[in-house]
């Protein structure tokens, strides 16, 4: 059952389009990666899907509903959550407040949601009152991803969740992403490392704003282009 459908998307900043005619499909329950060289437009893709940037052309559908041109506020209510790569926490707010902001669109009490986040990221439990800006990179990533999970999203857009993390934390974060997917959250992941890519069963290769390859992860790993991406140069 298709959860996210992107059809012929072109988008960018100002007058220049970064993405040209991107199409992709994600089914419920999948963990899909998008990979590509720097500047290929992977972050732009996630920004366009989430509504931070409005598409210049193309169509976006979430669970069958047209969300082209929607604001993030609306797509969040429909169950899509986006965690950017950088500047993805509110530094002067406490951990608890950061998570609370994730629940902004929720009515009623969400303490049980916060508890659930704490079972995924136990380190956050003792640090609820700490200002997010004073935490380490790894902890901040946990807050960022935790915030994204608060609305119990159907679809989670994750932009390079392991960027800037120490190697020991990278493994931890990747296993968390897997855990999140196992709990039923569909994930679209921008993957910079091969380990991140391996989490996914399917992947899309982006280059210079265009969808160049797509397929099963293992197949892609055999192709020259993907080999060059991770091992070449």
């Amino acid at each position: 059952m298709s959860l996210l459908n992107v059809n012929n998307l072109s988008a960018g900043y100002g007058e220049v389009d970064v993405l040209h005619g991107i199409s992709l499909d994600i089914d419920e329950g999948e963990l899909v990666a998008t990979i590509g060289p720097n500047g290929a437009g992977k972050s732009t893709l996630l920004r366009s899907i989430s509504g931070v940037i409005k598409p210049d052309e193309g169509r976006l559908e979430l669970g069958g509903t047209d969300i082209t041109g929607s604001e993030p506020e609306d797509t969040i209510r429909m169950g899509m959550s986006y965690v950017p790569q950088d500047e993805n926490i509110f530094p002067s707010l406490t951990v608890r407040e950061n998570l609370e902001m994730g629940a902004f669109t929720l009515e009623g009490d969400f303490q049980d949601r916060i508890d659930e986040i704490c079972t995924i990221f136990p380190q956050l439990r003792e640090r609820m009152g700490q200002k997010a800006g004073t935490m380490s990179g790894g902890q901040q990533q946990m807050v960022a991803v935790g915030r994204g999970l608060l609305i119990k999203p159907k679809l989670l857009l994750l932009d390079e969740p392991t960027a800037g993390l120490q190697p020991s934390l990278v493994k931890m974060m990747l296993s968390k992403v897997e855990e999140i997917n196992d709990r039923g959250v569909t994930v679209l992941l921008v993957a910079q490392t091969i380990d991140a890519l391996r989490l996914a069963n399917r992947a899309y290769l982006l280059s210079a704003g265009e969808m160049v390859l797509s397929g099963e992860t293992e197949e892609l790993l055999d192709t020259d282009r993907v080999q060059d991406l991770y091992f070449g140069g």
Partner: protein, 308 residues
């Protein structure tokens, strides 16, 4: 000297309320509101209208005004908030949505400044006006003189500052405002109702400013140009403290208030001793400005600024 310091605190209290407004708008709405001074004046005049329209209920013991002033303050805050929201919907919001630069927004606020100022002149005329009668100052140790009204001024300012602090700290929309202040794009991404944040920013900023105008009117007098005159010290307080920090704005305002009063006094004594005929009180706003230049030279992001 101690008296000058106390005067500085009183002036600083008035500047604080304006400075918090300016810093919130600069931080969340991304521009320096050059209409802030005239909004301050307008707030003072609205209260004047209200007090004039109400029957007199007598004065509070010791103060130069009565309960109707409290209502006048509330009235002024509400009406000014309405004005601000009107200008936002009609002018600032369309400009924002178009992606206008900080500079365009500042320019447009300059237009609003002249609009408000001309309305004040048309409705109320140029003459100085007062809420109530004159007051005698009481003497305290160390040569300090304080009028009873001045306790009210400092007290009210403190009360409002604490209220705003609690609002930002405890309420959902207050936290959202702090979040938007940290990272606007992320706030959108998180699903924060940015429209609400914008509205409340204006309401809080302008309400404080209206109160500031009224307190200034109580302290000195009500004149059309009153807000414009105090705009520079307000901006300086914000810049010196660093944009975005509410407590910082208060500290900055106190520094400016005290510095203005004390430096004016000190320099006046100096000039007198040197037999130079300079009237320092006329240059009070200039002192604030010189302070700003000095601070910015050494710490461009302000004392508490985060150097964004």
């Amino acid at each position: 000297m101690a008296d000058l310091f106390v005067n500085g605190i009183i002036l600083g209290s008035i500047i604080t309320l304006g400075a918090i407004g300016v810093t919130l708008i600069a931080d969340i709405l991304n521009f320096f509101n050059f209409a802030h001074g005239d909004m301050l004046s307008f707030g003072a005049y609205l209260a004047l209208f209200f007090v004039g329209a109400m029957p007199s209920w007598g004065n509070f013991p010791g103060l130069s005004f009565g309960p109707q002033m409290i209502l006048a303050i509330v009235f002024s805050m509400v009406i000014m908030s309405g004005f601000a929201l009107f200008f936002d919907k009609v002018l600032f919001k369309p400009l924002r949505e178009r992606g206008s630069s900080e500079l365009f927004l500042a320019l447009s606020s300059l237009g609003v400044a002249f609009i408000l100022r001309s309305i004040i002149r048309l409705v109320w005329g140029p003459q100085a006006q007062y809420y109530g009668g004159l007051q005698m100052a009481n003497r305290y140790p160390l040569g300090i003189t304080i009028k009873p009204d001045e306790f009210f001024i400092v007290g009210t300012a403190l009360f409002l500052v604490i209220t705003v602090y609690l609002f930002l700290k405890r309420t959902k929309i207050g936290k959202a405002m702090r979040a938007a202040s940290d990272n606007e794009t992320l706030a959108r991404v998180t699903g924060i109702n940015t429209e609400s944040v914008v509205n409340w920013t204006w309401i809080i900023a302008v309400s404080l400013t209206a109160a500031s105008g009224i307190l200034y009117g109580i302290q000195v007098q009500i004149r059309p140009i009153m807000g414009w005159n105090i705009l520079i010290p307000i901006f300086v307080a914000v810049v010196v403290a660093g944009v975005g920090d509410v407590w910082g704005a208060m500290v900055g305002a106190m520094i400016i208030g005290v510095a203005q009063e004390m430096l004016t006094g000190v320099l006046q004594n100096l000039f007198n001793a040197l037999n130079l005929d300079v009237l320092m009180t006329a240059y009070k706003p200039a002192i604030a400005f010189v302070l700003m230049v000095i601070v910015l030279l050494f710490r461009p992001q302000g004392i508490f600024g985060t150097g964004e």
